[in-house]
């Protein structure tokens, strides 16, 4: 897993609160046995007409948002199911960060394991980003994980929290399972001392 480096991108505004995982990727697309290709079904029911054609009025289909790597969502993003297909679909589409004011626990966990940054801003900063975007829809923001800030086009850093361990793993490309497996001797000792062998 390569380390998570600083990047700059436009934002795609999808300012809906409580976007749930069934919207991010509807369940009928979960009948897959690999992780690839899910980007095509991202927000499928919002993105496509019943006949399968793209809806011109949906943000992800607008040409000006093509290639943007940051999704700007409303409050409480990712509630609902534990499907890791949600971050797989977002990453598969090309997103590297999602901005909200809070994230559902399992979604945030899943996202971090896939190098997709759940970026929770304060309510005030979130409103400011929305306002900035209104005055300049093409505004570019930088995501700097090492300083834990989102940097506005005017250079203002907006802090976001992130678990220190997750941050280290992301920055250094540490594989969590590799880390966990270092403790196998301790796990064995635990199993023996608690009669779980």
């Amino acid at each position: 897993m390569p380390g998570f480096s600083r990047f700059t991108s436009r934002l795609v505004p999808l300012l809906v609160d409580n976007i749930d995982t069934d919207q991010i990727i509807p369940a009928r697309f979960l009948k897959v046995t690999d992780k690839l290709g899910l980007g095509e079904s991202l927000f499928s029911d919002w993105r496509f007409n019943p006949d399968g054609s793209p809806r011109a009025d949906f943000v992800l289909n607008m040409p000006e948002h093509r290639g943007a790597q940051i999704l700007l969502a409303g409050d409480n993003f990712g509630c609902g199911s534990s499907r890791e297909h949600a971050p797989w679909a977002l990453s598969g589409f090309g997103f590297r960060a999602v901005i909200s004011t809070s994230f559902a626990d399992i979604f945030a966990n899943n996202a971090l394991k896939n190098s997709l940054l759940p970026l929770a801003l304060s309510g005030a900063d979130h409103r400011e980003v929305v306002a900035l975007l209104k005055s300049d829809p093409a505004a570019e923001f930088s995501v700097d994980l090492s300083s834990q800030t989102l940097i506005t086009p005017g250079g203002k850093p907006m802090p976001f929290p992130i678990d220190s361990f997750a941050k280290t793993c992301l920055l250094n490309g540490v594989d969590e399972l590799g880390y966990l497996l270092r403790f196998v001797p301790e796990i064995e000792a635990f199993e023996q001392s608690t009669s779980r062998g």
Partner: protein, 471 residues
């Protein structure tokens, strides 16, 4: 001052499962029971294989198929190639990993959260995980049970552990007695209506209070099941006599001397007097009416007799627009009563309300009545064992003579992956747990309610207060 510190149920389980923890890093938490299903596991097994790893403790993992399986006539071969590949893959992976698998032909198969307790796999004091958010259900037994993603499924398979940060604990005290027509489902819908879908984020709920002790295990499971709908990581309830009685004699329950020592351990689990919670709230259920949701998340619920709320009366602009969007999707008018609104489909089933007691509740309403001719009623048992039990009791006969479809066990129209789904624009009253846009089929509209309410709505073909159903 040397007296042992008073601890919560959560704390006791957490502390006894931390294998080790490095400074600044999450705890390495031991997992006692891992449940696996066909939808969220294939990539985990593939990951394991590509790293050259094996399943470390196969005896602690149990697998079944529930999400994408058909619930129609079992003699008809599967027509969905993707689903059938997923099911075959589950079987193959279980075989490869040496994992006990309850497949399509097993009498023990069913929705993971129904069969865990039913088989006696779920026990107090355990850590239980599954690649499924409704793993919170198992917390009803005084276990710490939570949903995980597929990467974490791989972690558990490979190490029998997870890297976890300790969540906060929020006490949800439930007081009072439920009135006629009110069920566990109504209690949890009332809680969600109050706290919203993000109200429990970062926390585990421990349900306490006089009302909890008087609930049956199946009622407790219904409440813990929907903890995740409030954003909580898990829901839990202290084990008591009811819990112990339920577990006794099940296939995987301890026996003989092991049973006695297990019970002695379980008795020590409840939260000590004086233990401190990070947060606390109280819900008084006296005077509660049957509840129903009107919107597109489980927190958008109201007393069934109430009017649809009006966005104009919501001060917060974000909430106002969310409410407006939900009402638009549901095609409901602010201020209109929900009672009397037409219903096309009624779904009775899921890991929330697909147990035998739920089917009995539904049957108590449907006995001697007919489903309205405009309504399709699906009754889908949560497991094949629930199905067999219902048939022993003659409930299937009640459902069939009322005009319902009596189906095989599975998730079915809770998630609409298997062909059981709403058509665009249809209204469903569903005993499941999620009313998100399209959850029960693209364009479908869901009202969440209890089995009593669902059955009453099936009879009249409209949203109905079960308490007023003419006999």
């Amino acid at each position: 001052m040397n007296a042992p510190k008073a601890k919560t149920l959560f704390q006791k389980i957490w502390e006894s499962h931390v294998v080790t923890q490095e400074p600044g890093a999450p705890a390495v938490l031991y997992i006692d029971l891992h449940l696996v299903h066909e939808v969220t596991s294939p990539q985990a097994f593939a990951g394991l294989r590509s790293r050259g790893l094996r399943v470390r403790r196969p005896a602690r993992t149990f697998a079944t198929v529930d999400h994408s399986i058909p619930t129609g006539d079992p003699a008809v071969p599967l027509s969905d190639m993707l689903a059938s590949r997923q099911i075959a893959q589950m079987e193959e992976n279980a075989g490869w990993g040496g994992i006990r698998f309850f497949g399509m032909n097993s009498t023990q198969r069913g929705i993971v959260h129904v069969i865990g307790p039913e088989l006696g796999l779920t026990q107090p004091g355990m850590t239980v995980v599954c690649g499924d958010s409704h793993t919170s259900t198992h917390g009803a037994f005084g276990a710490l049970a939570f949903g995980i993603g597929t990467s974490e499924v791989e972690h558990v398979l490979a190490s029998q552990c997870l890297l976890q940060r300790r969540p906060g604990v929020c006490e949800v005290r439930i007081e009072g007695k439920k009135g006629p027509g009110v069920t566990a489902k109504d209690i949890v819908l009332a809680l969600l209506a109050r706290i919203g879908v993000g109200g429990g984020t970062g926390h585990v709920f421990e349900y306490t209070g006089s009302a909890v002790g008087s609930l049956t295990m199946e009622e407790r499971m219904t409440i813990c099941n929907m903890s995740i709908e409030g954003g909580a990581r898990a829901g839990m309830m202290a084990p008591d006599d009811t819990t112990i009685e339920y577990i006794a004699g099940r296939e995987f329950s301890p026996r003989g001397a092991a049973w006695d020592s297990a019970v002695a351990r379980w008795r020590k689990l409840p939260t000590d007097d004086g233990a401190v919670f990070d947060r606390s709230m109280t819900l008084d259920i006296s005077g509660l009416s049957p509840m129903i949701t009107f919107g597109t998340n489980p927190g958008m619920g109201l007393a069934i007799t109430g009017p649809v709320p009006s966005p104009d009366q919501v001060a917060d602009p974000a909430r106002r627009s969310a409410l407006r969007k939900a009402l638009e999707y549901m095609n409901l008018t602010p201020g209109q009563p929900l009672l009397g609104s037409p219903v096309n489909v009624v779904f009775i089933g899921s890991c929330t309300n697909g147990r035998i007691s739920d089917l009995r509740l539904a049957a108590s309403v449907l006995r001697g009545r007919r489903v309205a001719p405009t309504v399709r009623l699906l009754v889908v048992p949560g497991s094949q064992a629930v199905k067999a039990q219902a048939e022993d009791e003659g409930l299937d006969g009640i459902f069939k003579s009322a005009g319902a479809e009596w189906r095989e066990a599975g998730c079915s129209m809770c998630i609409a992956m298997n062909g059981d789904q709403l058509l665009p624009g249809q209204y469903a009253v569903s005993t499941s747990n999620r009313n998100f846009e399209g959850r029960q089929g693209k364009g479908g509209r869901t009202f969440l309610a209890s089995p009593l309410t669902a059955a009453a709505c099936a009879v009249t073909g409209t949203i109905t207060d079960v308490r007023t159903l003419p006999s």
